[in-house]
């Protein structure tokens, strides 16, 4: 749907140096949105219409609050579009298309492991909330540049959720020093050992959902396949129409017969099963 989202919150998120913003929009989208879906926002100063930048900006849903009719978007200012978006003030409204795409699937039982790289954490927060509401156990693996980044990008909100966390930073300032995938691998190996000891053949009811840089998600997928754990990945690409009409944001997948096919990230995704994705073409 196309709606006017009223800005009921827009502020700096964390340390200003990280250039993160939290935008809360009021409107009917929250009632039908699912974690992993996104909205396409027209980025312009509402007082002066302009076609520069021309395209809407796709932004994932960090929080969905149907009772308040609110969606929360977290984004990083990293270009002209987000620079202009950041100037939008409380009480103004933005043209919003959405909810768009297909989100993460929520397993009915078991544990949901979330693996985030950098600001790929944002859509996983909405997913964690839904999973917890459904009674699933949630575990977070999150890697970022340093402590300042993780603290700015919502660490305290995650702590408040009470989920188990495995943090890693490139400089070792918080959590393990290194990549998030190393933590994931360690934990998967440990789990496999435990299940072997109790005589089970698989790691049981674990599902993984990941969002972050493509190379990271590729590595996560590889690990999950190795450990026979289902994994869903959220892909990203420059988008044009955001509804599947222009074929600007395709990704390459393999179908059941192993044939290379294209899917539209905006409409068929952004969430896909990790094993479907042909990474070396997509990233």
């Amino acid at each position: 749907m196309l709606t006017e989202g009223q800005v009921v919150g827009h502020e700096c998120f964390g340390d200003e140096a990280q250039r993160l913003r939290r935008l809360v929009l009021k409107g009917p989208i929250a009632k039908s949105a699912k974690p992993g879906q996104f909205v396409a926002i027209q980025v312009q100063d509402s007082r002066v219409s302009s076609f520069d930048p021309l395209l809407r900006r796709p932004i994932s849903l960090a929080q969905i609050s149907p009772d308040q009719d609110e969606i929360t978007l977290l984004y990083r200012i990293q270009g002209r579009g987000t620079e202009i978006l950041a100037r939008v003030r409380y009480g103004e409204s933005l043209s919003v298309m959405g909810p768009l795409g297909k989100g993460f699937s929520l397993p009915e039982v078991g544990e949901l492991w979330l693996v985030a790289g950098g600001i790929g954490i944002f859509p996983l927060y909405a997913l964690a909330k839904s999973a917890l509401a459904q009674g699933l156990r949630v575990r977070l693996f999150w890697g970022g540049e340093n402590q300042s980044f993780l603290e700015s990008a919502g660490l305290s909100q995650w702590q408040a959720l009470g989920v188990q966390m495995h943090l890693s930073t490139l400089d070792g300032s918080l959590g393990q020093k290194g990549l998030v995938t190393e933590e994931l691998q360690a934990r998967l190996s440990q789990l496999l050992e435990q299940t072997k000891q109790v005589g089970q053949s698989s790691t049981g009811q674990i599902n993984v959902a990941t969002c972050g840089p493509a190379r990271m998600m590729q590595a996560v997928t590889k690990l999950c396949l190795e450990f026979k754990v289902p994994v869903e990945v959220s892909l990203e690409e420059r988008m044009g129409c955001a509804v599947g009409a222009c074929l600007g944001c395709i990704c390459t997948l393999t179908d059941e017969r192993g044939t290379l096919i294209h899917k539209k990230i905006c409409q068929d995704g952004p969430v896909f099963r990790g094993e479907e994705v042909v990474w070396d073409v997509s990233c």
């Binding site: 027209q42 809407r56 690409e237 009409a245 222009c246 074929l247 944001c249």
Partner: protein, 309 residues
């Protein structure tokens, strides 16, 4: 009830209003259904098809420019056979004029597709794309050489009883010469303009932004070029013109009509505002009413006469 008659016709194709959507920006007609009811539109032009399926170019396929968009999709499409099997049965039922768009790499390609698409297919017209800039020899050769353009239009014309619309490339020295050539070939109308060839370079990576290096520029940035070409061509040929290139608002559409276009088509503008076609139809109607015109047809080419009161 409006006092303005919005209906128009293009050589055998009747349109309830002069606002269409452009090939490659509107999928196969269903993608925008939640935003813009097709029955409100004059018509839609489907994504271009080729005889064989094509995966198209690698990503990135898009690059934004000031008030514009570069694309290098590369004619990704399911191919003629799959189109006939899976898409045509659905699109023919859409309550609007549906125009198929065909592209090819040889004269035989165009002939094969024209032969397969006839009036009884439920289509309203066939747009012959001789101007795709994103594929090597992707019809562009037919769109830059007048003799080839005339030949390909003449060849499809004898194969199908559907009206033939020639979609012309702006990437030529003499657009008028091209339009005259397709008129000689027997085209029933022309679409003006396809995208302008361009590129951008990522200065951090020091590489072209698009995987395909070049892409076609669309969006408001190209509007003045398109209006100029419609203006020139309308003076030189007798065929109706479907004007397109950067139309995002009703004011843009009115410019094209005044320049000599019989109908207009919204492309990239749909990405900006998925309800743009609806707002444009309404805007044209209001404009005609305000100017005391009984029919939108009276607007066509009016600027040439300098008679707008």
């Amino acid at each position: 009830m409006s006092l303005v008659d919005l209906a128009t016709s293009i050589e055998g194709m009747t349109l309830r209003n002069p606002v269409l959507t452009s090939s490659g920006t509107y999928g196969f007609g269903e993608e925008y259904a939640a935003y813009c009811p097709v029955e409100a539109l004059g018509g839609i032009t489907l994504k271009g098809i080729t005889p064989q399926p094509r995966l198209g170019n690698s990503v990135p396929r898009l690059a934004e420019t000031p008030a514009g968009l570069l694309n290098s999709v590369g004619l990704e499409n399911p191919g003629l056979e799959e189109f006939l099997k899976s898409y045509l049965p659905k699109v023919r039922k859409l309550p609007t004029a549906v125009i198929a768009n065909i592209s090819g790499f040889s004269l035989e390609d165009y002939v094969e597709m024209a032969r397969a698409l006839q009036r009884d297919s439920g289509l309203a017209a066939l747009e012959v794309n001789i101007s795709c800039p994103n594929v090597k020899h992707g019809g562009m050769h037919f769109g830059t050489d007048p003799k080839s353009a005339e030949e390909v239009i003449a060849a499809v014309k004898v194969e199908t009883n559907l009206p033939i619309i020639a979609k012309l490339s702006p990437n030529v020295t003499d657009i008028v010469g091209m339009a005259q050539a397709v008129q000689r070939g027997g085209a029933d109308a022309v679409s003006l303009i396809n995208t302008l060839l361009g590129m951008r370079i990522d200065i951090d990576q020091q590489r072209p932004v698009l995987a395909n290096t070049f892409g076609g520029l669309s969006g408001p940035a190209i509007l003045p070029v398109a209006v100029r070409m419609v203006w020139q061509v309308s003076q030189a040929i007798d065929l109706p013109i479907i004007g397109m290139g950067g139309i995002t608002t009703w004011q843009d559409a009115v410019e094209f009509l005044l320049a000599g276009a019989t109908a207009v088509s919204v492309g990239t503008g749909n990405f900006v505002n998925p309800q743009a076609p609806l707002e444009i139809i309404q805007g044209i109607e209001n404009y005609c009413e305000k100017k005391g015109l009984a029919s939108v047809r009276e607007l066509v080419g009016l600027a040439h006469k300098g008679l707008v009161t």
